[in-house]
């Protein structure tokens, strides 16, 4: 695709039937975090679809405002589950982002370079260590959500058996190793032997996909499929964003092999909620827990209720947020690229958490927990809660 300069039109390459499905009724508007934050039609799914139509069907120019409308989409896909006409919004925004990424060559190169680190686990771990050190010295702004501590060890997580794979991913493996450790202990307590995928399958490619770098994301998908297709055991994922992407590999690549792979992928709570009787009965933790649903668990994988099923035996009380699963604004690396909007979106989420009056918030996605933690909330992964309950510790 040829690069064009600002003001010129652009071929978006969206499936015309998918684009024509929206009736512009506006029922998506309240479920869009950017519309909620701004009240601006061009920051809503209906507005973005109308703009895609204007660009694709009528050759409207890509002005700065049009570009902003597209690049401010968090891609939470909350609109998709709330659309009565079931408009496949993901199939509209992904090609749009791809066309935009290709339009600006320096921008796509920058993304390629930055996101390239995700497939280099050793560099990531070194980077994470450095960032944490800088954070402790107060040299990194708090809003970037860098945690204050990181994994103690760079060594691979030892395998406890070969019943399931635990997909450990890129950023999470470097920065939230303790979540993987907790997940491994919980699975072991259920008598499930775990093999962490570690550096063999370093990155799922979800963030590349969201940034419009489709071909890179597909290269990552092929790599992951190759590395984990030695047998057909289930692949458990404790990051909602990675799980959603890996379940969509079949659609990305369109091959039988990819579809078969996607069928083996489970969110860890989704899988565990069917195996709860294998876990020992323990005294529930004396906490009131609020569950924050990562968008890619609720709106894409649609298995967010399993998180509650898995948590219920292990805590005194589970409370729901009253915002019907509205996005928190993390959106992969969105909170780094759009800090101001992401912050406004997060304020609404923090309000809902406050109203729920919970002691602890859990989130099954690394991006969400970093973003929420940066607002000063105590955020855990559900696996850490179950792990704590099983260890007989409290709070």
């Amino acid at each position: 695709m040829k690069a064009v300069s600002a003001g010129e039109s652009l071929r978006l390459g969206i499936d015309p039937d998918a684009l024509n499905k929206c009736v512009q009724c506006g029922l998506c508007l309240p479920h869009c975090p950017t519309f909620r934050a701004t009240g601006d039609e061009s920051f809503s799914p209906r507005g973005r679809i109308a703009l895609m139509r204007a660009v694709q069907n009528d050759g409207a120019p890509i002005t700065r405002d049009v570009e902003r409308a597209f690049e401010t989409c968090v891609q939470c896909r909350g609109c998709e589950t709330n659309c009565p006409s079931q408009v496949p919004y993901g199939e509209l925004i992904e090609p749009t982002r791809e066309a935009l990424a290709q339009r600006s060559r320096w921008r796509s190169r920058l993304f390629e370079t930055l996101l390239g680190f995700l497939a280099r686990p050793a560099w990531l771990r070194a980077g994470a260590g450095t960032a944490v050190a800088l954070r402790r010295m107060g040299l990194v702004p708090r809003r970037l959500g860098v945690p204050e501590n990181t994994a103690d060890s760079n060594a691979p997580i030892p395998a406890t058996g070969d019943d399931v794979f635990l997909f450990t991913g890129c950023i999470m493996d470097a920065w939230q190793r303790d979540v993987h450790d907790a997940a491994t202990r919980v699975l072991s307590a259920a008598g499930v032997g775990v093999q962490a995928t570690g550096d063999a399958a370093p990155c799922c490619g979800a963030l590349h996909r969201h940034a419009g770098l489709s071909s890179t994301s597909e290269t990552h998908a092929e790599h992951v499929i190759r590395a984990l297709s030695t047998d057909d055991r289930p692949i458990l994922v404790d990051s909602a964003g990675c799980g959603a992407a890996m379940k969509e590999y079949g659609q990305w690549l369109g091959t039988e092999e990819a579809r078969a792979f996607s069928a083996r992928v489970f969110d860890i709570h989704e899988w565990l909620s069917e195996q709860l009787d294998r876990l020992p009965r323990v005294e529930p933790l004396d906490v009131k827990l609020a569950v924050q649903d990562p968008c890619h668990l609720r709106h894409v994988q649609k298995v967010h209720l399993a998180t509650r099923t898995a948590l219920a035996p292990f805590v005194r009380e589970l409370v729901e947020l009253d915002d019907e699963g509205l996005c928190c604004g993390a959106g992969g690396i969105y909170f780094v690229l759009e800090p101001e909007l992401a912050g406004t979106i997060r304020e609404r989420k923090c309000g809902a958490i406050e109203r729920a009056g919970a002691d602890v918030v859990v989130s099954a996605n690394p991006g969400c927990s970093m973003h929420l933690a940066a607002a000063g909330l105590e955020v855990c992964h559900p696996m850490q809660i179950i792990d704590r309950a099983l260890a007989g510790r409290t709070g």
Partner: protein, 495 residues
């Protein structure tokens, strides 16, 4: 907005005609640089609402955050001889918020605060951009809600409800928006701020609050609204009755009212729309029924148990094929979700819809519905019916594909015939969506010249030169419909 951004905007707007550049400059002084937009693509978005009207042309789009800013931008409009069109969530279905003649579009979405909840007087002061359902959700812990519940309540705003005097399923028992607005603070087309209505006992003198509610933005812009709070019912029971003929469902509704009951809501959906809604929500609606009736009773437990049983009996006398009671709150919520999102589900079948809004006497429901199906068949169109059966408010949905040549013309012709059939049965033009641009042409069929003349005089008292939402409600040819009275740019200049 930073300096770089404002320079960028200035460069982008270098081709704007000088008169408009002056208008933009003054509006930005009155509000803020980044809350006045002029991008062509963005203006195209604000040229539409949720109706299938082809849309107008928007001038600058303003996002005020206070009454003072609305007043200031009104004064700028006066200085520059421009019209003003207020806009909420843009879910109107009659084109009421469509800008005609490149007016200043005033989006009230950033004025979305609940200012004060006054439990003693059972009112809340809210800004016009508050979303209807958000308000009821915030009031719920206090034991109250805002009674009007349009199907679009998850997105539509209180300001839009006031403008259209909106109804909703539960308005059967509670009355429409007008009954729930105690007072309003408005910015008049002259730029003055006035308060209509009172919180306490009814005010004496002319009911200007009553005149303003339902005026579709033609008398000014409401900037604060005192809404009445309705106590949440102690108990609710929701019933789903299925019928093998639409006539039986309609007769059941008439019989329930004739038996002296006023249920909180009575909603009917035909087979096609039921299936589209079921595909989305999976509420367990019976897919094979020709019509389903969703009836809800509320009050004290003992009373509603009797009412529910009587409704079931009346349904069975009218050959109901099944009767189901919602056993849990989740089940009830799902039954309502399907009803309230039904009109948005039609793209599963065709990508465009034309949603009507006539009201007919309950006794002629069945006959008018049969005529509507016949009209659609004559024009080779698909029609789906979903309606507020209790108050005879019909919502025939003509669905079509605008890409098919000639289909829009057939939709227009069928739509006209549906409206005429409703009027002939003793009905009226609109139950809740308003007149907007959609039904202006029919005003002369419903009202005499004298009626219209008096309506026009009322409007001129507020707005002698048609600054506020010109070209709406009153039929073309009446003075205020003449948008050229203002020095506005004709349609298409900036297209």
């Amino acid at each position: 907005m930073g300096f770089v951004e404002s320079v960028r905007v200035r460069i982008a707007e270098r081709k704007v005609p000088p008169a408009d550049r002056a208008l933009l400059r003054d509006l930005r002084r009155a509000l803020a640089h980044d809350r006045v937009r002029f991008d062509a693509a963005e203006r195209a978005l604000f040229a539409h609402d949720a109706s299938f009207d082809e849309g107008g042309v928007s001038g600058p789009i303003c996002f005020p955050v206070s009454t003072a800013e609305v007043q200031a931008l009104t004064r700028v409009a006066i200085d520059h001889g421009r019209a003003i069109v207020p806009r909420g969530a843009g879910t109107g279905l009659a084109g009421g918020a469509i800008p005609l003649g490149a007016p200043i579009v005033v989006s009230l979405m950033k004025m979305n605060r609940i200012l004060e909840i006054d439990g003693d007087n059972r009112v809340a002061w809210v800004e016009p951009g508050v979303v209807n359902l958000d308000l009821s959700n915030q009031l719920r812990p206090l034991g109250y809600h805002f009674a009007p519940d349009p199907s679009s309540q998850q997105v539509c705003t209180i300001g839009g409800n006031v403008a259209n005097n909106s109804g909703g399923p539960h308005c059967l028992a509670y009355g429409v928006t007008d009954a729930h607005i105690a007072a309003l603070e408005v910015v008049l087309p002259s730029g003055e701020v006035a308060v209509f209505g009172e919180i306490g006992p009814d005010e004496t003198g002319l009911d200007l609050r009553g005149a303003f509610v339902g005026s579709e933005g033609t008398l000014g812009i409401a900037t604060k609204v005192a809404v009445r709070l309705t106590k949440n019912p102690p108990a609710v029971r929701t019933l789903l009755l299925a019928f093998s003929a639409m006539r039986d469902a309609a007769q059941t509704v008439s019989d329930i009212v004739a038996a002296g009951m006023v249920p909180a809501a009575m909603e009917v959906m035909d087979q096609k729309i039921t299936n589209a809604a079921e595909n989305f929500v999976g509420a367990g609606y019976p897919r094979d029924a020709a019509a389903i009736l969703l009836a809800e009773v509320e009050g004290l437990e003992g009373g509603i148990a009797i009412d529910a049983r009587r409704i079931e009996e009346i349904g069975q006398r009218n050959h109901a094929t099944s009767v189901r009671r919602a056993e849990t709150e989740e089940e009830r919520a799902l039954l309502w979700k399907g009803r309230k999102t039904a009109f948005g589900a039609v793209a599963q079948i065709k990508p465009d819809y034309y949603l009507h809004d006539t009201v007919v006497p309950r006794s002629s429901l069945a006959a008018v519905l049969e005529e509507i199906y016949a009209i659609a068949e004559r024009h080779d169109l698909v029609v789906m019916n979903v309606f507020h059966a209790g108050d005879g408010n019909l919502h025939p949905l003509l669905i079509f594909d605008a890409r098919v040549p000639g289909e829009i013309d057939r939709v227009h012709r069928a739509g006209d015939e549906i409206v005429r059939a409703s009027l002939a049965a003793g009905g009226v033009l609109s139950g809740e969506h308003g007149i907007g641009v959609e039904k202006q042409g029919f005003m002369e069929e419903l009202f005499s010249a004298d009626d219209l003349e008096h309506q026009n005089r009322l409007r001129e008292t507020f707005d002698p030169i048609c600054r506020a939402n010109p070209g709406k409600v009153m039929p073309i040819g009446h003075s205020c419909a003449d948008i050229q009275a203002l020095r506005s740019v004709p349609t298409g200049v900036w297209g």
